[in-house]
């Protein structure tokens, strides 16, 4: 399993909501489902998928992993941003956009936090500047402490 995980590479377009629904239908017993995703897709289908997992009695942990640049928006001056899946491009003055972008990303994360709280899902926001092993260990210890 670890070998499989280590060989994973980002390719093509992805849809996380159908994947979650598919996994839910595949699991016959109550299981622990750990989701690692940037969740950069429409929120409603993902919410529905997460709700279905919970409805089926699975314990769900949602690791919301974003790139450090997506969390901090460290760009300066004129930049051309390209969405890798759709190849859509946008040319902007990064300095003038930072505040608005950070507000948007904060709303985006808060949506998941609220939804997960209401559905009994553990929501763990991460970004690539963090040390994953340390972040995961800290989360698991806190989860164990909660019982």
């Amino acid at each position: 399993m670890l070998s499989l995980l280590s060989r994973l590479e980002p390719t093509g377009k992805t849809e996380i909501a159908p994947c979650l629904i598919q996994i839910g239908s595949m699991l016959k017993h109550r299981s622990l489902v750990m989701v690692f995703s940037d969740l950069l897709a429409d929120v409603e289908p993902i919410f529905n998928a997460l709700r279905q997992l919970r409805y089926r009695g699975h314990d769900v942990i949602l690791f919301h992993v974003l790139d450090e640049a997506e969390v901090r928006f460290p760009f300066e001056g004129m930049v051309e941003l390209e969405e890798p899946e759709s190849e859509e491009k946008l040319c902007i003055d990064a300095g003038g956009f930072r505040r608005d972008y950070l507000a948007e990303i904060a709303v985006f994360r808060e949506q998941y936090r609220t939804e997960c709280f209401q559905r009994g899902i553990d929501y763990v926001p991460l970004d690539t500047s963090m040390q994953f092993d340390r972040a995961l260990t800290e989360y698991l210890i806190s989860r164990q402490a909660r019982g």
Partner: protein, 339 residues
Amino acid sequence: MEFVHPALLGGAALAAVPIILHFILRQKPKRFEFPALRFVQQRRQVNQRRMRLQHLLLLALRIAAICLLAVALARPSMRASGVIADQEAPVAAALVFETAPHMGYRHENQSRLEVAQEIALKLLSDFPHESQVAVLDTRGQPGVFQVDLGAARQRIERLELTPVTQPILTAVDEALRLLGEATQQRREIYIFTDLTAASWSTEAREELNKRLSPLPQLGVYVVDVGVLKPQNFGLGEIRLSSQVLAQNSPLVVSTDLVARGTEGDRGVVLEMLDIHGKPQKRNQETWKLADGQPQSVEFSVGGLPIGTIRANCGLSARMAWLATIYATSRSKFKTVAGG
């Protein structure tokens, strides 16, 4: 509004620099892969509008800053303001001094001419260094602009009363001629006078108005160095009992002591000049005076030597002279040995 260095206004053309930078030399954007692009898109319209406004505002501020800098370097100045010599622009100034004998009247131990000189020197120190200054008096001589402010200062310090003077309008005419030749935009004329009725008759005032009315941009300042309540003590004509005296007979010197605009005690002194011309006090008496009422003064001097004798008769306590209309009355008289 005038500019001292109008050529520097051309520096405002540099305002084109931020425009070129803003519209033409735009920075080439760096490319990044960014999966969260949709969050940027959501705010793009509002943000772009705001950013465009900010950029235009910034551009306007940069242009305004460059234009203001160019205007400041060109040194703007206002013509003929109401405040005397308070501007930095060089001035062409003509200082006209009345130097008639009445300018020698003293008040608080200063003659009117001295007061005028003091004010003029102060004024001169306030003029910008590049200023052209002409100093004229009522002697009727042609005026010239002094070489520099130092020369103008010396000229003012050397001004003296002149017994025969031209009307003040003659000096004003000369000043206007000089100012007409000046290159400076800011031109001012200062007239130092005690405004005596003799110098400033109704006709003289009308004439001055006529000369100045076609010159609205000329700054005209009349500096009144007279006093509101003049106080004069004076001696009248000196009368001698005789031009030729018999030996050992006394000489009687008489005159009238007059006070105008004041009253009080005033002393009169009679001094004989010795063979070296040095004054020796012979008599001094004090009389009580009422305003406008002459007081007869009489000295009797005996024991005069044989020969020609010179004497001065004048008011005592020079330092306390309040008025100088009859400042010094001097008389020379002779005694000849009689038989």
